[in-house]
Subunit: 407 residues, 2 copies
């Protein structure tokens, strides 16, 4: 490993950071993580971030949405001199039974990259920040990238605070319970001004790097993606005595919808998933009165995505109600090319997943992403994995990216 | 209405009984009933039964499973003289959001039939009993006909008491909470010996009577029926980044299974229903790691039922795990013919639904059923309905049946 030898004890630093995070929010039965916004696990992760920041003598600030920022250098002085900071980082929360890498790999790699730069005696010309964005997965309140969306204004404070989790607790109450004043949340221009450029390192959530035999890639864009709800209405009736011809069974529409989602997505180079279902009354001996299906669709262009959704809804004989939609995000092309050149002509790939880097890019912040090879491509699962050597290559790449941008 | 005029103020009696029951356990939002075993609603229904029994001077007893019996005459003396009683009745509990008729129509009609017989001055040669079987639907603890199955030994006391509801409460604790000593439950030969013959009146759960233009039918048999669980295992993964070709998505197996259930049942004159599903992790942006589907299958013969189940399981690429199965129950053929003749050559029909009369028949008790026309055929739903005139015809038919059997 060229990067490891070059950067001395990078592996030791990485391992130490990684092991401290490993047990937090891990479910013993599934091996997956349950790190949801404004829970005890979230507080433990925030304490860990504050501790690593303090251990490095970085200045910790918390923005209006509760995202944490650890600064090497003086970010406001740099804004005044028109040379705002280089920010790296990601998030620490998880989906239900998520993996260890989605999010934490970017934060751990950021601290390790700073250690590596300092070990080399690097003196940055611009301040360098590490960010921990809160509530990226939206696992608890249903809105992804809540932390970055709140400070950019893509998610209004009113809507955010009124979101509720499955037990009925609002985000406002959850924040209060975690010791944060919910009335302070909103657009945070002071924080945004400090970000001259943002680079988010993330585990790849597919297998392109494995196929190309490379450890690190540069992101070019995020596919258009959205979530739709489809209500299939039937008629509750006795499962034993109602003749097939007399039934209005919404599960038949569901079967058509699931098959069509796969077919329509396949024909248009999109992906479509029916990952969530709600059935009423959900009794073994009753024909359901209603099935609600949620459809997640993503693709290389918005037209294809919308065509898939329309075809799926038609096959179920019902309307698709849009719950969220994000158009394509193109990362800063010049920045992506510059990083790819710096990183030995790293491959450039697009992704079907949303990220805080996409939210910042949409808000006009020059942003980029680095992806670290995931041999199986599995993500949002306890089986999510990256090789240690590839993680260290990711740290080294991040350090070189920061060096390039901050020298 | 020939029966109404013949029986005087039958309609008034029926309406009074019906209105007293109407509000108990009714859900204001859905209009459906939630009358589950050993709840407050159940206690109210039992008090109503005890009150109607007392109002008629009947002797109330409660058996070892908590089923209630109201006797006109001395049931034990009749056993001693080898001429055990004529029992009528049904149940008062409901499925989740069930209708008003499934169960209560049989109990209300039984009290009304006794009033009618007394108004005519009928003097029974054998004792006449009205029964309220507890927990017929199995909505809370998952086992249907629990009350009749416990006293006949088809459901062991140990297994019954350890059944748990969705909140984890055992039947033993639920019974204790309702003021019953759970240690007394078990086979109840003393109660069974008192039943010379059992006739259960029930709302039809199909549309055969509507098609034949008749208000009342006699039951001949209960179809073989059972419940199977099918676990479809996939691989949790990111809904946005996992290429279609790399997915192991169990919802595709679910779609195949649902379609096959309909096709296979249709080809074999059976019915098959996928009424209950459980999805993990059930998140919009995750390919499910597992879908569990429950299959309810019923048909005119056991071989056909088992063929449907095998075909459905094969289509899902998984095994069907039998959770319960009941072979065909034939009601006493001579008794059914005698009743059909008595009731102006009433049509004779079989049913796909399980009933306490089926449990008693399987235990060797001569049993029969009367069905009252259901114009839409809808059952296990707030829309379940029978015309008042047809209900009164049912009461009259039940009274004639008792007269025939007890004179």
């Amino acid at each position: 490993m060229r990067y490891v030898s070059e950067h001395g004890d990078l592996g030791v630093t990485f391992d130490q950071l990684w092991s401290a995070l490993e047990p937090v929010g891990r479910n013993a039965r599934t091996g997956g993580y349950r790190r949801f916004a404004w829970t005890n696990e979230d507080a433990t992760l925030r304490e860990w971030f504050a501790g690593e920041s303090a251990a490095r003598g970085l200045d910790l600030t918390t923005d209006r949405a509760g995202n944490q920022w650890a600064w090497w250098g003086a970010p406001d002085a740099a804004v005044a001199s028109n040379d705002a900071g280089v920010v790296i980082g990601s998030h620490l929360d998880s989906v239900p039974d998520g993996g260890a890498f989605d999010g934490p790999l970017g934060v751990v790699s950021s601290f390790a990259a700073i250690d590596s730069l300092r070990n080399q005696g690097f003196t940055p010309r611009r301040p360098i920040g590490v960010v921990n964005f809160g509530d990226e997965e939206g696992a608890r309140f249903g809105v992804a990238c809540a932390g970055s969306q709140i400070i950019t204004g893509a998610l209004s404070a009113d809507r955010a605070l009124s979101l509720r989790d499955e037990t009925g607790t609002s985000m406002a109450d959850a924040m209060s319970g975690a010791g944060r004043d919910p009335t302070t949340i909103g657009i945070d221009q002071e924080t945004l001004r400090r970000i001259g450029v943002f680079v988010e390192l993330h585990v790849e959530q597919g297998r392109l790097l494995g196929e190309r035999g490379r450890a690190v890639a540069v992101g070019t864009s995020i596919w258009p993606h959205g979530r739709w709800r489809i209500d299939l209405v039937g008629e509750a009736n006795h499962a034993g005595t109602t003749r097939l011809a007399d039934r209005r069974d919404p599960t038949l529409d569901l079967a058509a919808l699931i098959s069509t989602a796969r077919d329509a997505a396949s024909r248009r180079n999109c992906v479509a998933t029916v990952g969530k279902l709600h059935i009423e009354p959900n009794a073994v001996n009753a024909i359901p009165s209603r099935v609600t299906a949620w459809l997640d669709t993503r693709g290389p262009d918005e037209l294809s995505v919308r065509e898939v959704v329309a075809e799926v809804a038609k096959s179920g004989g019902a309307a698709a109600i849009e719950e969220s939609f994000s158009g394509e995000v193109s990362f800063d092309a010049a920045l992506a090319s510059r990083l790819a050149r710096t990183l030995d002509d790293a491959p450039m790939i697009s992704t079907g997943a949303g990220h805080d880097a996409g939210v910042l890019a949409r808000a006009g912040v020059p942003s980029a992403m680095l992806f670290v090879r995931n041999p199986s491509g599995v993500s949002h699962s306890p089986a999510e994995y990256a090789e240690r050597d590839d993680c260290l290559a990711g740290v080294a790449a991040l350090a070189r990216a920061v060096e390039e941008l901050a020298r």
